[in-house]
């Protein structure tokens, strides 16, 4: 049995401005190396949950990462945002990946070089090491953000609709690549999306959130990877998630 890498207990989040409740008593355990995808209607709090886990929001309750209670942002939980601006524009691709490692105290130049080259290659950006972010497409920027997490060996990679702003073809390609990456690493993924197909293709476990972060569906993905719409049982599973999603919307 895998060990629990992340556990969320009695997490409540109320916005200061209008006292609206975003998350109400959320409890969740995530196992090591799981690829958890979270579906939910807009405003259900799925992004807020990621932000709480990452430490960017104040909340009540506890988040425990690998046995330690975590409250502030740190490299063990790495957030990949939807916003392409998450890379530092004043650093090249390679420097964007190496800088966090330096901050973490890695000084060995050869080692920095090796890690950067390895992770850049793993996200398919070989040859772009010395490009500045403004010279990259949106999809490439998101790959660099993923590479940062891989280089840091973050335990949990939190992904907040990272492919939502990409065109359909790039999106499909990145899904495939992310799937391959996730198989090779020991990272645990939490991936928020609006897209049912994306959730099924990537997730080993799928959650559907209702209002206030209420968990409506929590299922292991019954379909064997790689999943395509022609996989056996795809339609049935899609329907189940779809009706849960739209039921929550009413």
């Amino acid at each position: 049995m895998s060990k629990t890498i992340l556990s969320v207990r009695n997490l409540n989040k109320v916005y200061q401005d209008d006292k609206s409740v975003i998350l109400e008593n959320v409890n969740l355990d995530v196992e090591e190396r799981e690829f958890l995808t979270i579906l939910g209607p807009s405003g259900c709090g799925k992004t807020t949950l990621l932000r709480c886990i990452a430490g960017f929001e104040d909340y009540t309750g506890t988040v425990t990462t690998d046995g330690k209670v975590t409250k502030d942002p740190d490299v063990d939980r790495f957030m990949v945002f939807q916003d392409f601006n998450q890379l530092f524009p004043w650093k090249t691709v390679k420097k964007n990946i190496q800088y966090p490692l330096r901050i973490q105290g890695l000084k060995d130049k050869d080692e920095l070089e090796r890690i950067a080259n390895e992770t850049i290659a793993s996200v398919g950006l070989k040859g772009y090491e010395n490009y500045y972010p403004y010279q990259l497409s949106g999809g490439m920027k998101q790959r660099v953000a993923i590479a940062k997490a891989l280089a840091l060996k973050s335990k949990i990679i939190l992904m907040d609709e990272p492919f939502a702003a990409l065109d359909a073809m790039t999106r499909t390609r990145l899904q495939k690549e992310l799937l391959n990456i996730s198989k090779k690493t020991d990272c645990t993924f939490m991936f928020v999306t609006h897209n049912i197909q994306e959730a099924i293709i990537l997730g080993t476990r799928i959650l559907v959130f209702g209002d206030g972060g209420k968990i409506l569906v929590d299922e292991k993905n019954p379909l064997a990877k790689p999943v395509s719409p022609s996989s056996e049982g795809y339609g049935e599973f899609w329907d189940r998630l779809h009706s849960a999603l739209y039921q929550s919307d009413n």
Binding site: A54, V75, F88, P89, Y99, P100, I103, Y132, P133
Partner: protein, 265 residues
């Protein structure tokens, strides 16, 4: 927009036409018997240019005047920029300090340095420190204004991305806030330098300090002695210094930072 070559030719032709018209006006004594004083010929100005450096005024070459001015300017610029960074950084940490400092910047930014001269002279006397004070005053407020605005207007996701990789406090300031506001810092530097340079020359023209004579004093002495060719020649020197700072220094920094990073066109 015109292509570069065409634009260059147009500019060169304009300057050439300007010089030719000047020369015609000068040679023809268009302004009567005193015309040579108002419009000395190009040759006279060129000779005065050389004489400024060779002979200078009161036995001191113009070089020395330039160096004196530059010394005070650099001391003031350095202190002004340093203080702007310190106060703006404190403003980011302490909200009360931010409110007060923001108000102070808004007020003082509107106050021309030269207008402060009477007060400053009463406090410091006629001394080099008056000029340094004026330069600091010229640079600290626009620089602070740009830093404060810059800190609040870059994409806030940089801060979260920075915190996510373990940056906190001072490291967040140097690792995210400063590079993210480079465009604002440079624009503050441009305004600050331009104001300081003008303020310095004005102050030197209003009162020259014998112990540290500067370009302003030099040009004023030339005017007093009706050496107008020398005045024009000194104006050219002042323009050259401005061009070196603007295009040689500030533009080079821009090219190697915000332009290289795609943060400015």
């Amino acid at each position: 927009m015109m292509n570069r070559k065409k634009a260059l030719i147009a500019k060169a032709l304009f300057l050439l036409a300007f010089v030719i018209i000047w020369e015609i006006v000068a040679k023809r004594n268009v302004f009567g018997s005193n015309s040579q004083i108002v419009f000395p010929t190009i040759e006279t100005i060129a000779k005065a240019f050389v004489r400024n450096f060779k002979v200078g005024y009161a036995g001191i070459s113009l070089w020395k005047y330039i160096l004196n001015s530059m010394e005070l300017l650099l001391i003031g610029l350095f202190l002004g920029i340093f203080l702007a960074f310190v106060f703006s950084a404190i403003s980011m940490i302490n909200p009360t300090f931010y409110e007060i400092y923001n108000m102070l910047v808004s007020i003082c930014d509107l106050l021309p340095g030269v207008a402060l001269l009477p007060v400053v002279i009463i406090i410091f006397g006629i001394h080099r420190s008056v000029i340094v004070f004026l330069v600091i005053h010229s640079v600290i407020w626009p620089m602070s204004r740009n830093l404060l605005d810059g800190f609040h207007s870059f994409p806030q996701i940089y801060i979260e991305a920075g915190m996510n990789i373990g940056l906190r406090g001072k490291s967040l300031l140097t690792g995210v806030y400063l590079p993210a506001t480079t465009a604002y810092i440079l624009s503050g530097l441009k305004v600050g330098w331009a104001r300081a340079w003008r303020g310095l020359l004005s102050a030197e023209m209003i009162f020259g300090i014998a112990s540290s004579p500067g370009i302003g004093l030099f040009i004023n002495q030339m005017r007093t002695n009706l050496n107008n060719a020398e005045v024009y020649a000194t104006l050219i020197v002042i323009i050259i210094i401005g061009v070196i700072v603007q295009y040689g220094i500030i533009d080079t920094i821009e090219k190697h930072t915000i332009k290289k990073w795609g943060m400015s066109k």
